[in-house]
Point group: D2
Chain length 365, copies 4
C-alpha cells in the first residue's frame, strides 16, 4: 500500500467543478523559490505605497517589452478580481459577455463578473474541448444589439489555456476578434494559465494577444508559482481609463503593493514564467503519454497545457483510490473522468509512480 504523499495528492487530484471545496490543484502548490526570494528582497527599507514604487514600475516596463506593445498594467491578488475588474471595464451593466459554458468566470467565481459589472450577463456556450469558435458565436449575433428590451452584446471572453487544458491558436483568436470587431464587442482573455499557452505554442505573447485582436488580458501567476499575483493588462491604455477607480473600490489596491509587484517581477525575470509553464506542460505530456498506453484509458481532450482529463474504467478509478491515491471525479460522483493537473514543481518521479501504479492495477484487473 503506497502511503499518500502530499506531492502525489497534488499531482493526482482531479476535481469536480461541483466539489465541496472548489480547489484547483495548481492552487495547492506553494511558491516558486525565486518568487519567495524576491519577497524577502523587497523587504528592505520603506517604499511608496499603493503602487508608486519602483518594483511596480519595473513590472510594467517588463510587460511592455514582453508583449512588444504599450500596456496599462494593474496588479491584483486574485484571478477572480482580475477577470471581474477587466470585464467590468469592458461592458456596461446591461452588457452580455459570451464565453465557454465551462469558463471559470461563469462557473467558479460566484458571480464576481456580474457584481463588478453591475448586473451584466454571462452567456455560456457549449463547445468541444473547452474552446469556442467564431462559428459557435456568429449565430447569436447581433443578438438584439440596439434593441432596448434586450441586454446588449458587449464582450467575448476566452480562457487561455482553456478549462479543458487546450490552447487557442492565433488564427482562432483572430477569427473571434473579427467577429468582435464587426459587432463592437470587447475581447478579453482569462489567462490564469496564459504561460502554459505561450509555452505550448512557442509563439510571441503578442501573437495571441493584441496582434490577434485582444483588448485586455488577465495575466495569471498564482497557478504557476506566485503566492497571490495576477496582472490585468490593457493593450489600449484609453480603455483602462477608469480601471484604477474600479480596483480601489473593489478593495483590490494593495497598500504595500511592492510585495505583489515583487512576485510578478521575479515571475517575469529570466523567463521564470515560461520555464515554470514548460515544465508543467512537459509533465502533463509525460503523464498523458503514459496513460494513453493503458487499455481502457482515454484522454478526453488534447493535452496542450498542464491539465489531463482522463476517462478510465471505474474499476481502475476505484483501485487507485484503494491504493491511496486521492482525487475527485470530474463529472460528479458517478462519472469516470478525472482531472490531473501538473505544476511547476511536479517531479517526473511522481508522474512515473502514478503510471506504474496504473499499469499494475490495470494488468492485475
Amino acid at each position: 500500500m503506497t502511503p499518500l504523499s502530499i506531492c502525489r495528492l497534488a499531482l493526482l487530484s482531479g476535481q469536480s467543478n461541483r466539489s465541496a471545496t472548489g480547489s484547483s490543484f495548481d492552487n495547492v502548490t506553494g511558491i516558486s523559490p525565486e518568487i519567495l526570494a524576491a519577497l524577502a528582497a523587497a523587504n528592505s527599507g520603506s517604499q511608496s505605497s499603493y503602487g508608486a514604487d519602483p518594483l511596480t514600475a519595473r513590472v510594467s516596463r517588463r510587460l511592455a517589452e514582453i508583449f512588444e506593445h504599450e500596456v496599462a498594467v494593474f496588479p491584483v491578488a486574485t484571478g477572480t478580481a482580475a477577470n471581474a475588474l477587466a470585464l467590468a471595464t469592458l461592458v456596461p451593466p446591461w452588457g452580455v459577455v459570451y464565453c465557454h459554458h465551462e469558463a471559470h468566470i461563469v462557473v467558479d467565481e460566484c458571480g464576481a463578473p456580474e457584481f463588478y459589472a453591475g448586473g451584466a450577463k454571462l452567456v455560456g456556450i457549449a463547445a468541444p474541448h473547452g474552446k469556442i469558435c467564431a462559428g459557435d458565436l456568429a449565430p447569436l449575433l447581433p443578438g438584439g444589439k440596439g434593441v432596448v428590451h434586450h441586454m446588449q452584446p458587449a464582450a467575448i471572453s476566452l480562457t487561455q489555456a482553456s478549462e479543458a487544458g487546450t490552447v487557442y491558436r492565433a488564427d482562432e483568436i483572430a477569427a473571434l476578434a473579427e467577429l468582435a470587431r464587426r459587432h463592437a464587442l470587447g475581447l478579453h482573455v482569462d489567462g490564469a494559465r496564459f504561460a502554459n499557452a505561450v509555452a505550448h505554442l512557442g509563439c510571441a505573447p503578442a501573437d495571441i494577444t493584441w496582434r490577434a485582436g485582444i483588448d485586455v488580458l488577465s495575466f495569471g501567476a498564482t497557478k504557476n508559482g506566485a503566492a497571490a499575483a495576477e496582472a490585468v493588462i490593457f493593450f489600449d491604455r484609453a480603455k483602462a481609463a477608469d480601471f484604477e477607480f474600479r480596483r480601489k473600490r473593489g478593495g483590490h489596491l494593495l497598500s504595500k503593493m511592492r510585495f505583489l509587484s515583487a512576485q510578478l517581477d521575479a515571475y517575469l525575470d529570466n523567463d521564470l514564467w515560461l520555464r515554470n509553464a514548460r515544465h508543467a506542460n512537459a509533465m502533463a505530456t509525460r503523464l498523458a503519454g503514459g496513460l494513453a498506453g493503458i487499455t481502457g484509458v482515454h484522454l478526453r481532450h488534447p493535452v496542450e497545457a498542464n491539465e489531463v482529463f482522463v476517462e478510465m474504467p471505474n474499476p481502475l478509478i476505484e483501485a487507485l483510490f484503494a491504493k491511496g491515491f486521492s482525487f475527485y471525479r470530474w463529472d460528479g460522483e458517478r462519472g469516470n473522468c478525472v482531472r490531473l493537473v501538473t505544476t511547476f514543481d511536479t517531479a517526473p518521479s511522481d508522474v512515473d509512480a502514478l503510471l506504474v501504479t496504473a499499469r499494475s492495477v490495470n494488468r492485475d484487473g
Copy 2:
C-alpha cells in the same frame, strides 16, 4: 544639509488626505521579520486551497482565544475589503452607516462600502479628535426608521484607533452600543490600528469589542507588520452567514490562502501584534513629548496610538523641508498641520534626529 534617508521619510511624512498618492505612512514600511519568516515556512509541501488549510484553522482558534469568544474569521488582503465586506453584511442596500466624517471608509475607500453594500449611504459626523460619541449620534436617530422615503439607519462604524490617533475607551463604545441596540443598528469597528488601541488601553481585546457590544471587527495587520493581511471577525457567527459568498464574489478569497493565514498566524504568535503596536505607540509618545517642548509647536490631538498631528509655525515647516525632510501638510498646501506616523520599525534614533533638527531650527529661527 542632511541627506534624506528612507527611514526618515517614513517617520516624518505626515500626509494630506487629499494628496495625490494617498499613501498612509504605516504602509510604506515593510514586513516584520517574524512574518516574513512565516511566509517562507508556509511554503513547504501542498496544502488545501481556499482556506481549508491548517494555518487558516489555527488563526481562527488563536483569535477565539485572544478574544475569549466564539468567532467567525475571514482573512482578506486589504483593509478596504475588510471594511466594505463587513459593512455589506450588516446593512441593506438602502441602509445608512454613521461614522466620523474623517473615517477611512467615508474618505479613503473610493466608495468601496457603497459598492459592496449595493448603494448604502455613509453619513460622516464631525466630532473632535476623530471620535464620535453617543451624544453626537442620538439627535440623528431614529432617522426616519420605518419611513419608506428615507434610507434606513442600519449601522455605526467606529475607527479604533481613530484617524486622529486617539482611542475609544470601553465605556465610550458601550454608550454607542446602547444607542445601536435601541435603534437596531449593527456596530462595526474599523480596526486597521486595533493593535495600537489595545496596546494603549492595556485592556483585554474583548473589553473593547463584544463585551462592549461590537458585532464585527476589521482586525488589521498590514499597517502593523504584515505584507497584506486583515481579518474580518464576527462575534456572532449567525450574522456572518452569507459573508463567504460576498468575499468570493468580491474576488477576495485567495486560492493559496495559507500565505495570507501564515501572516496572521505569525502576527498573533507570541503577542507580536501587541509588541509591534506597543513599540510604535512608544515612538509616537517620544516624538510627541519632544515636539511639545518646542515653542510654537502644538499637538492637535491627544497622542494615544501611533499618529502625531502637529501644528507648527510655517517657517519651521519650511525649514524642515529645506533640511531635507519630506512630508505633506495635513490641511492642504497652506495648512500648518502635519501628520507623523510611527511604526513597528521606527528607531528611537530616528525620532531623536527629528527632534534635534526641529529644536535647532526653532532656536535659530
Copy 3:
C-alpha cells in the same frame, strides 16, 4: 386590396423577440372602458399620497378575497418592475433564478432582474411549449448549493400563461414547488397574463398560487385592459418585509397612487379581469380553430390563452403581407412562424376577416 385597420394590425401582428420595437401586441390596445371610467371617478377631491388612500386599501382587500388568503399587495406601473422587484426580494445578489429560456425576465427586460437583485443570474431552460417541468430542473439541483465558488440556486420563476400561450396546471406547479421546497428555493410567477390562465383553467386563483406552493405573484393588468397597472402579491407577508424599500428606491412608488389603484380596483370589480381574459382566450380559440383547418398551416403550441403561434407556408405569409396585413415573423426574418395575439377588445369579425383572407389566399395559391 384590404385597407389595413389599426385593429387588424393589433390582432394579426405576431412579433419576433428580436424585433426592433419589441412591442407585444396586447400592449398596443387601449384601456378597458370600465378602467378609464374608474380613473375619472378617482379624480374627485384630495387623497393621501403614496398608497395611504382608500382605493389602495380596497385593492388589497379585494385581492385577499379573490385569493382566499392573506396577501401583501404592492401596485406598480410595469410588469418588468413587478418581476424584478419580486425576484430581488426572493434571492440574494449571488442567487440563481431558473426559468424557461424564452421567459420575459430573461429575454425582454434588459437585465432588470439582474439589476434589482444586485447581480443575480437567470438560467434559462429550454423546454417544449414554454413550460418547464420538475423533470427539467431536477438534474440541475442542488447546483452547488453551499459551495462558495458557485452562484447559489435561489428561486424558480414560471410564466403563467407562458410565453408560448400555454398554461401550467396546478399539479405541474405543485411538482415544481415540491422541488423548490426540497432545495429551499423561492417560487415566483410572472403573471402578466395570469387572468388568461385562470380563465382557461376555470380554477380558483388560489389553486395555482399559494395552494400549489407559489410565494409571490406578479399579477398583471396592463395587457388585459389597464393603462399601466400590475400588482406584486406576496402570500407570506413576512417575505415582503423589505419590498417597500426596494419599490421606493426603484422609483416605483407612485405619489398619486390612487390612479394606479383605481385601475386595479376596476379591473377586479365584477370580475372584469376574468371577463376580459375569457374574451381574449375565446378569440384565440376561434382564430386557432379556423387556421388549423387550412392546408399547410400548423399550430406550434397548444392554444390555451390569448396567443396563437402559427407556422404557415412562406407564400401564405408573403401573400398576407401583400394583402396589407402587417406582422413580424417569430423566428426571425427567414422563419415561417408568426405570433398572433388576441385581446379583450378583439372583435370576432376581425378574427373572421383574417380567416377569410387566409383561406382565400391558400385556395388561390
Copy 4:
C-alpha cells in the same frame, strides 16, 4: 368648530420631512381636467407600444420648441425615477453628486440615485433658503479629482423651484455651471416644480436650462396636474446615449406609453403647465401676504413658488389644530414652522378662509 374639508386639508398641510407618510401636499391633488380628458382621448384604437407612438413623438417636438433646442426626451412615471436615471447617466458608480442638504434626491428617495448609479454618493450642502451657490461649492472642489482613494466629483444637482419654495435665477445657475465646467461636472436640475420656477421668473425655459449650462432636466408634471408623468430632458443628445437601456432595466419603460405621453402632451398644450403654475404661485403669494400681516407670524423663506414656510407662535399652531385644521410641523413635533403648499386647484376662497381663521385666532389669543 370649522369642519375640515378635504380641500382645506390639502392647502394647509405642511409636512415634516420626517413624517410617517412622507406625503407632499401637491401630491394629494388630483388630475387637471385637461389632462384627464387627454387620457380618454388617447384611448381610441391601437398604437405602437413602448414609445413608438405619435403622441410620444409630439411631446418631444413640443419640448424642443418650448426649450428652443434639440432635446432627447424620456417620459417616466415618477420624479424619483427621473432624477435617479438622469443622475446615473451623468456620473460613474464612484461619482459624487453635490446638492442642497434638503434636496429630495438626498432626503426623500430612499437611495434611488445611489441605486441607479451603482453606488454613487450624494453630498448635501447646507445653505440658506434651499439654494446652493457657487461660493458654497467652490471650497469643496476639486475634491480629490483624479486621486484613486476618493470618490470622484461628478455632478451638481439643483432643485428648481427649491425645496424651500425659492427659485434659482439664470445668473446663479450660470455661476454654478461655470464651476461645473471648470471641474468637468455634469449639471442636473430636479424640476419637480420647474413650471413654478418659470412662472415666477417669467423667463424663457431656455434661460434657466441649456443657456445657463444645464445638461439634463427632470421636468415634472405630477405635482402640477398630471396623474403620473415626468420627462427627463437632455439638451445634448450624445449624453443620453445609454439612457434608454437604463430606463428599460429600471422597469420604467411603459408599454402603453401613449397614456403617459398623453398627459405630457396636454400639460404642454396651450401653456397648461404655466397656467397651472401661475395659479399655484399666485395662491401662495396671496397666502403669504395675508400671513405676513399677522403678529408673531414670520415667513422663513422668500415665497417665490407654491410653497409657504411659516413660523408662528405655538399657541397659534395649537389653535389652528383645535379649529380643525390639520397639518404637520416642518421641524418635527416641537418646531413652530409649518409648510403650506398651494396647487393648480387651490381656490382663493380656501386661502382666505385660512387667513380669516388665523387672524381671528391671533386677535383672540
